[in-house]
Symmetry: C2
Subunit: 449 residues, 2 copies
């Protein structure tokens, strides 16, 4: 007989426990290395940007008041008193009726408050220009401090840096930034039957799949995988590999041996460390129920099921959250995935009280995108390969019906080939600038299913 | 006066031209280095997986026929004739009424066709077990070849590898895989007023923002940035830096100087190379109109506007497509981004014939998530920093109205902090396993706006 799980928690209860882990220490990182890292300090501007009134157009810097009333039939005449060299400041103070030639990005001379676009100016001769349209103060100008002002806090600690955030830091002249350490995640595969991929598996053995799927998911979560090794199904080996992993990393993942069978030693191996505390053993998800979340000291140690699909679901739902937490984010949720509105191709039964992750393949069907559940046991990696994403059947549902509208979370930010083309042209053209998002929003198109 | 653009193309026309570029050569890559790389060859199984019938449970391997009719009140009695060691093949051929102890992942002995879960077995003594429930043939078994069969093609050339795809390759014993070369993308910033970030900008100068935003976007597109340098606004410097870039990379991006003004030399610099062909100069998008797409030989050379926001929009809409194409993908579309259904907080005017990318900040408002357009000229990087994503107003629209339902494409796969929590709990809880996706689909919740 198998021992029962200690206490099966819900996914949300499990994620709430994750928020208790402390973030890793902060470190200094160069801008180049800081993409998708998490700020450990707020970012406050030390100066105005730009530091001068800056033209956004090629044209003529003028005092706007001198253009008031100008039209094509009654242009305002200006005397051209110079040209602003790029990257320099002109020392002229503009007087009434004077203009200075200026380029996009150039600094306005003193007393000028606006720029007349070259398209609205007619040069009469080298020294004279007719302005065909009036400009208001600050037209075609980025004013000093308009991008940001000295003392302004633009990004808060806990913010994960996007490309534009690095651009902002560059604009501030920051060469480095304080970020939280990127989590190093140790990976152990366990099982007497598991062999490395460069070895021909003897009869009864299989190659190590989880090492590769989980390492890749660690990278996808903006963390750093650290491969420890394959543990045989004995307590001593497992305990010592976990020990080794704790010295090499900020988090430890063991796949396999997380259930309650006689050969499942992960719980025991964790408990054999001093300061070990089991937080979770068993989560009401399918696949992925035999999840272990523990801490040894302050280091999170996870036991994931050995079946590749179960291990991936647990990673997506819980390990990514932990990576985010260790990196200083407050959110204990998986990263947001691109989603596709779709309809189910057949009934999917489920059990109340259990959250089901159903792998689906998307396919064009009757002019719509159908979500077709991919058959395959959780030990079968090809079921994940055939799927484009997954749908979630909540714990309070007894299943979903054929034709139900569902939100499919995609495994990646692409679907590839014809499906993506079709999807984009049919449903999301609007998001690519070719559709009618406001006349026929996505949800109306789909609600007819 | 400014010269007019040669011919302004639509975004789709521009992307169609991108499909003409040839993919880069294939190379061999280790599994560890192949995440998000694109297959240059189909992946075909060289053997069955698993190579033996494999138990998915701890329990007893039996001949299913011997369990037929078994119930808790009338259990079937089995003689335990051994135990399957993990990673080994048992040489027994099961006879009528015999059972063998087996573990999850173990190989079934000859003649056994199913496994009775340990939960449905009652051990009477060391040699005898009562089976309390009948099993059908192949219950709790992954059959030989059930994951994949010899000769089966599971992934096609042009497929970008996800974590599970690496797992599949591992299951096949593949240590390396043929993928297309990762595009090296050369980056040049141009403008007399641009200074490196480690330099204090003299009056009238600004720091180089585009180097950092564009390099980061190259990484985000799974390609490799190569920094070339800052070009002053003269034809000779620009021409020689483009020359240098072509030797160092598979694609060249110049930001700044792409328009038609007297100081905009990128078109001329491209044309001064032999074999240069301008494919596009001017696209009907805002911001980002002064885009140049050219080829010199077979190398794509792009001129992006110098304004940071315009440059990022052009990158998102066109450069990512080119990265995908060079890496062997057929799809000439940006990567799919996570999206949030939202409603507009105010009217947004637009021009027919032009596709507008409107930066928006998401904010909780009246129990819904509002999309608030972020003010700010395209030269202002902080407008991108304040925004969570963008909405698209199609070329055939004259604008969008306050309260319109819109799809916001997020700049990243997170929003951070409270907004993400709120978003998830309100609208997408279903996708996290805590909601009622089938009773109250997302679109119904929103349609009341």
């Amino acid at each position: 007989m198998q021992k029962p799980f200690l206490q099966v928690l819900s996914p949300d209860e499990t994620r709430n426990l994750i928020t208790e882990f402390p973030e890793l220490p902060a470190e200094t990182s160069s801008l180049e290395d800081s993409l998708f890292r998490v700020l450990a300090e707020p970012v406050t501007a030390r100066e105005d940007s730009p530091r001068f009134d800056r033209s956004t157009m090629d044209g003529f810097a003028v005092r706007s008041v001198d253009t008031f009333g100008a039209t094509e039939s009654a242009p305002a005449l200006f005397h051209i008193v110079g040209e602003i060299a790029m990257g320099e400041v002109h020392d002229t103070v503009l007087k009434k009726g004077q203009a200075v030639r200026i380029w996009t990005g150039g600094a306005l001379p003193a007393a000028a408050d606006s720029v007349v676009m070259v398209e609205h100016a007619e040069e009469v001769d080298r020294n004279t220009v007719e302005v065909l349209r009036a400009v208001a103060p600050f037209d075609n100008v980025v004013r000093r401090g308009e991008d940001f002002k000295e003392g302004e806090t633009l990004l808060e600690a806990g913010h994960r840096l996007r490309p534009q955030d690095l651009g902002l830091l560059a604009a501030m002249g920051r060469r480095t930034v304080r970020v939280f350490k990127k989590p190093a995640v140790a990976i152990i595969s366990s099982g007497d039957e598991i062999v490395p991929i460069d070895q021909e598996p003897p009869p009864g053995c299989v190659r190590d799949v989880n090492r590769y799927t989980l390492s890749a998911m660690v990278r996808e979560a903006h963390a750093e995988p650290v491969w420890i090794g394959i543990a045989t199904d004995d307590l001593k080996t497992l305990t010592s590999l976990i020990q080794k992993a704790m010295q090499a990393a900020d988090m430890v993942i063991v796949s396999g041996g997380s259930s309650m069978g006689a050969r499942d030693h992960v719980i025991e191996a964790i408990q054999s460390h001093t300061n070990a505390k089991i937080l979770v053993h068993g989560v009401s998800v399918s696949p992925g129920k035999p999840l272990i979340l523990a801490k040894i000291g302050s280091i999170p140690v996870l036991g994931l099921p050995g079946h590749p699909v179960s291990a991936m679901v647990c990673f997506e739902q819980f390990v990514t959250c932990l990576c985010r937490r260790l990196e200083g984010e407050e959110v204990a949720q998986p990263f947001l995935r691109p989603t596709v509105q779709s309809f189910l191709s057949r009934n999917v039964p489920s059990k109340e009280g259990r959250t089901d992750f159903v792998r689906v393949r998307l396919q064009s069907m009757d002019g719509k995108i159908a979500a077709i559940p991919v058959p395959g046991k959780s030990g079968v990696i090809s079921a994940m390969v055939r799927a484009h994403g997954y749908i979630v059947i909540g714990a309070d549902c007894e299943g979903a019906y054929k034709g139900d509208s569902v939100i499919v979370s995609l495994f990646a930010d692409w679907m590839g080939g014809n499906l993506e083309k079709e999807y984009l042209s049919r449903y999301e053209a609007a998001c690519r600038g070719t559709g009618h998002i406001f006349e026929t929003p996505q949800q109306e198109k789909i609600s007819g299913i």
